[in-house]
């Protein structure tokens, strides 16, 4: 098992390199002179030249890439001009907030989605199935940012159950209950779409498995139906559900950008949007590379989980 994890980690290296290359290439799409783009059109020629030198933009592209890559490997992602602090510091701080939000949403959508899918499949065409299918249809059709806004209107403004936005209360907050209180709505809004997608997939995966011969065998030997469903069938269905969980984690991470804007959550998504609007490209570049790399590592964890579940995968 240790060897398998190592093998997967090594196989991630070209992907991680590919990510840096792609980001580098996209950033070189910037029309005109990047230094002017960063400093704005009112910058003095001296400043532009200085920045060009600082960023190494006077060097050939390939050389520039390796300098950038080498710097990143030593933890130097450059300096954000709009915040006037190292990019990596800002990204790490913001990523922490995003992890709390996206991680909670991911757990929520996995548990709720699989559960809904299992119930739906076990009661196919029954009332529970129809109700779940209906809710799921609504769930996957509402844009998460609109859902978040409507939740604020209902639960924060009208019912006053939960705070409108932010991660902590401005006065007297900062502890865990305060965080949870602020987390409920954004996490639910963020989880909604993925829950629907996972529920749908789990349902069809379960229905596929329930038709298999080994389910008949389990029933034929007198295994109680609850165990047939939650044990035999779900375990086999997980083989096709887990890869989708990995994909959905990417969508949850993506959706977090909208939710962080709607709920004023101080995460990396909001940071990226602000950085784009302020043309702080080094911050965008560093944030994108960092989050994408984390996502690649997460997907390795998903693969490892899959190999633990399915003994037929050669490790």
């Amino acid at each position: 098992m240790g060897g398998y994890i190592l093998k997967r980690l090594i196989s991630a290296i070209p992907v991680l390199l590919g990510i840096t290359i792609i980001v580098f290439l996209i950033m070189s799409l910037i029309p005109g002179d990047p230094a002017t783009a960063i400093l704005g059109s009112y910058a003095t020629p001296e400043n532009v030249e200085k920045l060009n030198r600082d960023l190494g933009l006077d060097k050939p592209m390939v050389q520039r890439y390796f300098i950038w890559l080498g710097n990143m490997l030593t933890g130097d992602f450059g300096r954000s001009f709009s915040l006037n602090r190292p990019v990596i510091d800002e990204v790490l701080e913001r990523f922490n907030a995003t992890l709390i939000l996206a991680g909670t949403a991911f757990v929520l959508c996995s548990v709720l989605g699989i559960l809904a899918g299992v119930v739906s499949a076990a009661r196919q065409y029954g009332f529970a199935d129809k109700a779940i299918t209906f809710v799921v249809l609504i769930g996957i059709s509402v844009p998460s940012f609109f859902l978040g806004m409507m939740m604020i209107l209902l639960f924060a403004v009208n019912l006053r159950w939960l705070p409108v936005s932010g991660m902590y209360a401005i006065y007297g907050g900062g502890d865990l209950p305060d965080l949870l209180n602020h987390l409920v709505m954004p996490a639910l809004a963020l989880a909604a779409v993925a829950t629907g997608v996972i529920a749908r997939l789990s349902r069809s995966a379960m229905l596929e498995v329930l038709r298999q011969d080994f389910i008949r065998t389990a029933r034929a030997k007198g295994v109680p139906e609850r165990r047939v469903i939650m044990g035999h069938a779900l375990r086999a269905a997980m083989v096709s559900i887990i890869p989708v969980l990995g994909i959905q984690a990417g969508f949850v991470l993506s959706g977090a950008v909208y939710i962080e804007i709607v709920f004023q959550w101080p995460g990396v998504g909001r940071m990226l949007v602000d950085a784009i609007l302020k043309r702080d490209l080094l911050l965008v570049q560093g944030g994108v590379v960092f989050v994408a790399a984390c996502y690649v590592l997460f997907n390795i964890a998903v693969d490892v989980a899959q190999s633990l579940l399915d003994p037929r995968i050669k490790t």
């Binding site: 910037i30 965008v284 994108v288 996502y295």
Partner: protein, 621 residues
């Protein structure tokens, strides 16, 4: 095509989606002739008017602009941008996919590596990076969304192309001297196009949502131009005081995405061949029972199937898989049930414990008595306690009948623990002993194997061990040796025979192999088209078959050492059990059939223990 549309619209939700989408599209198309106000005309005195106010059916926004007009213009923009992004992504992605799939080899490898890397990004990061580089704006948002979706098309279309590229018509085109470009455009593309269109129809909603999202973030359409996303984004600051300015565009996005989703689901379902045949089975724990008519009386046999009728209801068709079958076994007895594929022997066996997949399976008549207790329609828990404990099954094809993800020891232990409250350790010890009983070498280490780590013969022994786990009174073996080679088959048969003599268990042995029947069974019943046509002691039936079908069936068996002789295959096919002819079901294939064979009900007659369902039997019984 018309069948496809009919299926699509039989799905009422898909039809609803189509209607909603059509209404939206038509409204957007007739914008020029609608009496709408200028969507960008500001009137700050009239800001935030409520819906249904004079002159503004949906009210006005924060600059006093007419919301209805802005909504329709915004919808038009959103739809146009989403569809444009879908077309661009589909075109570029499909081109990449076709090239990779058609040329294969290194080209394919390099391209797909790149595609995989693009897919390693959470999509929004890629989109944000592109917008960051190109700058905010609707056109750039469109490019970003299209670019993000290119890998999806590339990967899907490549998969299809790889399958097509190896087919004969491509080779033929190559041999005819056509160039690569021409082959791709005239031979491949027409075959791939439907897949591209379907993939597009399922992703276009998603792309509309993504561009709206980027606009919502302020990275897409810039004021005063507004798509649905930027309308929502602008309204957000006034959301609490004037929610209608948010709700109006939000609901429109919701309606568009939902109707496209519904339509997409409908398309997918309509294309699913299993749905088209209506043959999807549902996962019930026991077979449905809808018995009509009298319930036959119990007998003093150990297991007695009495006049059992099991049907499959698929769409409007009713398949009478089992049409009134009666069988019985006593302790220590082995009964063979023989017949061609589709004769109903497996369904008969599965009906005993309510294991017929249901729906479509329905038990419509008869009874199954175990020690005098009727199992048909018994409550689930009663049936469950008998399953495996009183009546156990051995199935064909042990690779698919064993759970692939559990160790065989766990599967054996579970069979015991489902009926007896013993500890895990004790169950494990018994599992090892069971493996030894069925003569699996190295049982102590084999018990930790997964099914895929064993050979076919070993797996079948595990299947037998599982059936023996609770020392049942009856074992129903459904072609347990069909998938095995002859030496393993012989071992398994002698194993079963030993067990029957040692433990006195009754065996119902289902097979299409007369050799197996001769070796193992005391009595044999021959089934044809869901009914028993002949029954009697094995030796008597084999020596002097009474039913023409039995005789012909035996004549089909090649005899070892019997020299070369002509094998007498039976002409024709068994009848479809949804349209059984009146009279004898075998009459159309029988060389002795008379007119009287083709009408009326023919009874099973004879003096016990033999019986035959034939008006002109080969032998009087």
């Amino acid at each position: 095509m018309s069948a496809f549309l009919r299926l699509l619209f039989r799905n009422r939700l898909a039809a609803l989606g189509a209607v909603v989408l059509a209404v939206i599209v038509i409204l957007v198309l007739i914008i020029p002739v609608l009496p709408l106000q200028n969507p960008d005309a500001t009137a700050t005195a009239n800001r935030f008017q409520k819906p249904f106010s004079a002159g503004h059916p949906l009210g006005t926004d924060h600059l006093g602009r007419d919301l209805l007009s802005r909504l329709l213009h915004g919808t038009r923009l959103s739809l146009a941008v989403g569809i444009a992004a879908a077309i661009i992504a589909a075109t570029i992605g499909s081109a990449i996919g076709i090239v990779a799939g058609y040329f294969g080899g290194r080209t394919d490898n390099v391209i797909m590596r790149l595609v995989d890397m693009l897919m390693a990004f959470p999509y929004i990061l890629l989109a944000l990076a592109i917008v960051a580089a190109l700058g905010p704006g609707l056109m750039n948002a469109l490019i970003a969304v299209a670019a993000v979706n290119v890998p999806f098309f590339a990967r899907n279309i490549r998969g299809i192309t790889v399958g097509l590229a190896g087919r004969e018509f491509i080779d033929a085109a190559r041999l005819a001297g056509m160039g690569h470009t021409r082959i791709i455009l005239t031979e491949l593309l027409p075959n791939v196009l439907p897949v591209i269109v379907i993939a597009m129809s399922t992703t276009v909603g998603w792309m509309i949502l993504e561009t709206a999202g980027l606009s919502f973030l302020g990275l897409g359409s810039q004021p005063p131009q507004a798509d649905l996303g930027s309308m929502l984004g602008e309204a957000r600051s006034a959301m609490i005081s004037h929610p209608h300015t948010s709700i109006v565009p939000g609901i429109m996005i919701f309606l568009i995405v939902m109707s496209i989703n519904l339509l997409g689901d409908g398309v997918r379902d309509a294309l699913d061949p299993r749905l088209r045949s209506g043959a999807l089975s549902r996962p019930r724990a026991t077979t449905l029972v809808r018995r009509s008519g009298d319930i036959p009386a119990p007998t003093d046999d150990l297991l007695a199937i009495r006049d059992l009728q099991t049907q499959f209801h698929v769409g409007r068709h009713i398949y009478r898989a089992v049409g009134g079958v009666s069988l019985a076994v006593r302790p220590g007895e082995c009964l063979g049930v023989i017949g061609e594929s589709g004769s109903g022997k497996s369904v008969t066996a599965l009906s005993v414990m309510g294991l017929v997949a249901s729906p479509p399976g329905v038990i419509t008549g008869g009874a199954v008595y175990f020690r005098g207790q009727d199992l048909i329609g018994a409550p689930y828990e009663t049936l469950r306690q008998k399953r495996g404990d009183s009546v156990a099954y051995i199935f064909q094809d042990p690779l698919s009948t064993l759970h692939p993800l559990y160790r065989i020891g766990q599967q054996l232990a579970e069979a015991i623990r489902s009926h007896h409250g013993i500890s895990r350790a004790e169950a494990h010890r018994r599992a090892v002993q069971l493996l030894k009983d069925v003569r699996i070498p190295n049982a102590e280490s084999r018990v930790n194997d997964y099914p895929h780590e064993m050979s076919g013969g070993m797996r079948q022994r595990v299947g037998i061990a599982m059936a023996l786990a609770n020392e049942p009174d009856v074992i129903i073996a459904d072609e347990p040796t069909t998938a095995l080679d002859v030496t393993v088959q012989a071992q398994i048969l002698s194993l079963l025979d030993d067990l029957r003599r040692e433990r006195g268990l009754a065996i119902v042995f289902i097979t299409h192999d007369f050799g197996v029947v001769a070796q193992l069974c005391d009595r044999v019943a021959v089934m044809y088209a869901g009914r028993i046509v002949e029954e009697g002691p094995t030796a008597a039936v084999l020596d002097a078959p009474a039913h023409p079908y039995t005789r012909r069936l035996i004549a089909c068996v090649p005899e070892l050492g019997g020299g070369r002789r002509e094998l007498a295959a039976i002409p024709g096919l068994p009848p479809m059990v949804d349209a059984l002819p009146p009279g004898c079901a075998f009459a159309p294939r029988c060389d002795k059939a008379q007119d009287s064979c083709r009408s009326g009900e023919i009874a099973l007659t004879g003096t016990a223990p033999r019986a035959v369902r034939c008006l002109y039997p080969e032998e009087a019984v």
